[in-house]
């Protein structure tokens, strides 16, 4: 992390700021400091902040709540970095309504009660204008009642199971149908898959995802049949019995949502058992560039992943983003789907504040629907009235170097539908 030295993320040191600025060469025209002042005068604090948030004439305070320690730190670091990068870039452009963003960073420590405590601290004590944070469903579930009670605003970056919609949350990742349906249709059409073997870690996200997948395969799109459905505890590392079942079932497609440390064992053991990409088609919804770092490109090369973003996306927005990210966090850093979704959070918030002309949470919540972001690395995105994002689905094929080659892309933005009819 670029800000290791500075525990509470106040502005970067000069050297770090220069790095970030250099990375922004491709960003649209920067605002002059004078313009920022003029803009701040145009939006007097008394007017843009009627609910006693931590907003002054020159500064707006936001919170960042991820696990910097504990088992989830490895996953959440990317989001922490991307959110910080976006905030630094926004500050360099003059901030939001002429006010610089100051971040108060809290550590959820991979522990859900801690997430609850810290979110309350950010909202009640620090009176932050919004919070960028959470990663796992469990942490989101722990903080959601607090955000609703204290009327805070959370920008949540992870693709998740859906079945949730809150005035106080903007979901910048995909809900389950956005990630799953296109992938399954593509598998049936392009890969002629008729039988599917569903396998996942045993918690709410894979369970819900597989429920949707099964309905889609069997009754909605009638793609074929489900040859097996298996779940393993989080952290499970012995997949021999699963591999035997797969060998017996001989499915056209393994559809996988195995997460965390289990991923490494899962792909290594598949390879050891001879189930490799040249013989077996596998589509996963849980492996991004971040996970491939742990799995190793050689263990997963040739398999497919269904995401909305891959680091290799070929467009001008993404090239500028990747360059800025690598300048800030080193040339070896990789960017996964969730990291990109984390990067969207501050930008969407900025656009919403400017549209609403206010930092008040109620006004932001009301103004969020219809917010557009043309500069998103994944391409154009739009916020739906239900606080999820319209976004495209893409299929990437894992390469030896740990990157993905994009082989398919949904022609249109897919509408978010957290409560899909016919899939319950």
């Amino acid at each position: 992390m670029a800000d290791k030295k500075d525990p509470i993320q106040t502005p970067l040191t000069d050297e770090q700021r220069r790095k970030v600025l250099m990375g922004m060469a491709a960003m649209p025209a920067m605002m002059m400091p004078g313009m920022a002042l003029a803009q701040a005068a145009q939006f007097p604090t008394a007017k843009v902040n009627t609910t006693k948030l931590a907003v002054t004439d020159t500064e707006v305070v936001v919170g960042q709540l991820h696990s910097a320690t504990g088992t989830m730190a490895i996953s959440e670091t990317g989001s922490i970095q991307a959110e910080q990068l976006a905030i630094d870039q926004i500050n360099a452009m003059g901030g939001v309504l002429g006010r610089k963003i100051r971040v108060i960073k809290e550590d959820g420590a991979s522990d859900w009660p801690t997430f609850a405590e810290k979110s309350k601290k950010l909202l009640v004590q620090d009176k932050v204008a919004c919070v960028f944070g959470c990663w796992t469903s469990a942490s989101r579930k722990a903080v959601l009642p607090i955000f609703e009670k204290e009327n805070g605003m959370l920008y949540y970056p992870t693709f998740y199971e859906g079945l949730e919609q809150s005035k106080n949350v903007i979901y910048t990742g995909q809900e389950a149908t956005q990630q799953i349906l296109y992938g399954l249709d593509w598998a049936a059409k392009e890969k002629k898959a008729k039988t599917f073997f569903l396998v996942g870690s045993d918690y709410i996200w894979p369970r819900t995802s597989m429920k949707i997948a099964r309905k889609h395969i069997e009754s909605v799109a009638k793609l074929g049949k489900v040859a097996g459905e298996e779940y393993y505890p989080l952290g499970h590392t012995n997949f021999n019995s699963l591999i035997n079942k797969i060998k017996l079932a001989k499915p056209d497609c393994i559809f996988a949502a195995v997460v965390g440390g289990s991923n490494v064992a899962f792909y290594k053991q598949l390879k050891a058992a001879g189930i490799t990409a040249d013989k077996q088609f596998l589509l996963t919804i849980s492996v991004t560039e971040d996970e491939v770092l742990g799995i190793g490109g050689e263990n997963i090369a040739g398999f497919y992943s269904s995401m909305k973003y891959f680091q290799s996306l070929d467009n001008a927005n993404n090239k500028a983003f990747v360059e800025a990210f690598k300048k800030a966090y080193g040339p070896k850093s990789v960017i996964g789907d969730v990291t990109q979704a984390g990067y969207l959070g501050p930008w969407i918030w900025k656009a919403t504040v400017e549209k609403a002309g206010s930092f008040d949470v109620d006004k932001i919540a009301a103004a969020s629907g219809g917010i557009e972001l043309k500069t998103a690395p994944e391409g154009y995105v739009k916020v739906h009235e239900n606080h999820h994002l319209w976004s495209k689905a893409r299929i990437g094929q894992a390469q030896l170097d740990g990157q993905f080659k994009v082989v398919a892309e949904s022609p249109e933005l897919i509408e978010p539908n957290p409560f899909p009819k016919g899939y319950q």
Partner: protein, 405 residues
């Protein structure tokens, strides 16, 4: 006056009074509601620590699985509140309205039978108290009857922790899985999330905690307390004297379990959710650390320990988000190295002698020093010479009763 003074000194009620004053008067006056709510959460852990003083400090039985009972108590409470929060009106978006949301997500279409009792508050409260205690009885009866003790018992408590965590995570349709039971709102229609409710719950929690300390103190001062101490220091001598040692241990374990369960239920009331991360091995060991930091022989010390460690955790993690784990580790190592008897030991060895010089003469029994097999963590203050003569069938030595609260 003098008789009151000497009673205070003998029973250790002075320190309990001071503690009560601090948590009931000083904290509410000096803290805003957010911080007070945090203290309320810390004080729910103090129930576990107080139970550990009785079990570990007095009974000599180390349990590394108190999270099981804290968690069970919490889950029982959470189940009641979840059912109340899941009325058909608010859950009409689900495929099966009227059941908890996580059941609906897991394709369960009707409420499992064993959830039914938790529709009723009296039954739920009874379950909070009795089910963890019953489980504690079964575990400890099976173990102590076979004279399994010491390290082996500690390992078994860890295993129970692990089993319960795996069970809760695995049976997510019935328990909420990794997410736990969240979004708890009301109890018999009374909103627990309002400012007023938070004050009431804080004082209820503080009152229960003080009552728990008084109960434990009463047990310590009774013959039972003396026997527990005796058993810890010379188990065989107590057994040969005709006492059923195992049942005393079972009692101490059940007592600690019930206190932990009350703490768990209060946790849910104040924090608003329950999750398996409070059941596992790590929180269980953390709770032992609270007792160790406070001083494992001291009931009020345990409360201070729980407060200090949690204040430290909150403060360090807010001020140094990248470094806080190291600072916490330094705190633990520092306390154990510098003050093996915890805060209470520090008080006994440094503060009390200075106060005592002026005030009271040492109680009877300064002549005896603790025998060699007293664990090093026993406070070595002048008032508690329980080492040599815990078994006295005649009048109990004053010194035993003088063990501080």
């Amino acid at each position: 006056m003098d008789s009151i003074k000497s009673w205070l000194a003998r029973s250790g009620m002075g320190s309990v009074l001071i503690l009560a004053l601090i948590i009931v008067v000083v904290f509410p006056l000096t803290m805003d509601l957010f911080r007070l709510n945090l203290v309320g959460k810390y004080l729910t852990y103090a129930f576990v620590a107080v139970g550990l003083v009785m079990l570990w400090g007095y009974g000599g039985v180390l349990s590394l699985g108190q999270g099981v009972f804290f968690g069970l108590g919490g889950y029982m409470m959470a189940m009641f509140m979840k059912l109340e929060a899941s009325d058909p009106e608010t859950t009409k978006i689900q495929s099966t309205p009227g059941i908890p949301d996580f059941m609906d997500w897991n394709q369960i279409t009707e409420l499992p039978l064993w959830w039914e009792p938790f529709r009723h508050l009296p039954l739920a409260l009874l379950a909070v108290l009795l089910i963890p205690t019953l489980l504690a009885f079964i575990i400890s009866f099976a173990m102590f009857r076979r004279r399994v003790g010491g390290v082996y018992f500690a390992i078994i408590t860890q295993a129970v922790c692990l089993i319960l965590t795996v069970l809760i995570v695995g049976q997510q349709g019935y328990t909420g899985g990794v997410n736990g039971i969240t979004d708890l709102k009301t109890i018999l229609g009374w909103d627990t999330r309002t400012d007023e409710a938070k004050y009431i719950l804080y004082f209820l929690n503080a009152g229960l905690l003080i009552a728990a300390i008084l109960l434990c103190r009463w047990i310590q001062l009774s013959k039972l307390g003396t026997l527990l101490l005796a058993m810890r220091d010379k188990e065989d001598r107590v057994r040969f004297s005709g006492y059923d040692v195992s049942m005393f241990k079972v009692f101490a374990f059940c007592l600690a379990a019930m206190l932990s369960a009350i703490g768990g239920a209060m946790f849910v009331l104040q924090v608003g959710f329950m999750s398996p991360s409070l059941v596992g091995i790590v929180p269980s060991i953390e709770m032992v650390i609270f007792a160790a930091v406070g001083g494992r022989m001291s009931l009020v010390g345990a409360v201070y320990g729980a407060l200090l460690v949690n204040f430290g955790k909150t403060y360090f993690s807010e001020s140094f988000p990248d470094l806080w784990l190291f600072l916490m580790a330094a705190l633990f190592i520092g306390v154990v190295l510098a003050f093996p008897n915890g805060l209470a030991g520090l008080y006994e060895s440094h503060v009390k002698p200075r106060l005592g010089k002026r005030k009271d003469k040492p109680a009877a029994g300064t002549d005896s020093t603790p025998s060699s097999d007293v664990p090093p963590a026993t406070p070595l203050h002048s008032g508690a010479p329980h080492g040599g003569k815990p078994l006295a069938r005649t009048a109990l030595p004053d010194g035993v009763q003088g063990t501080s609260a």
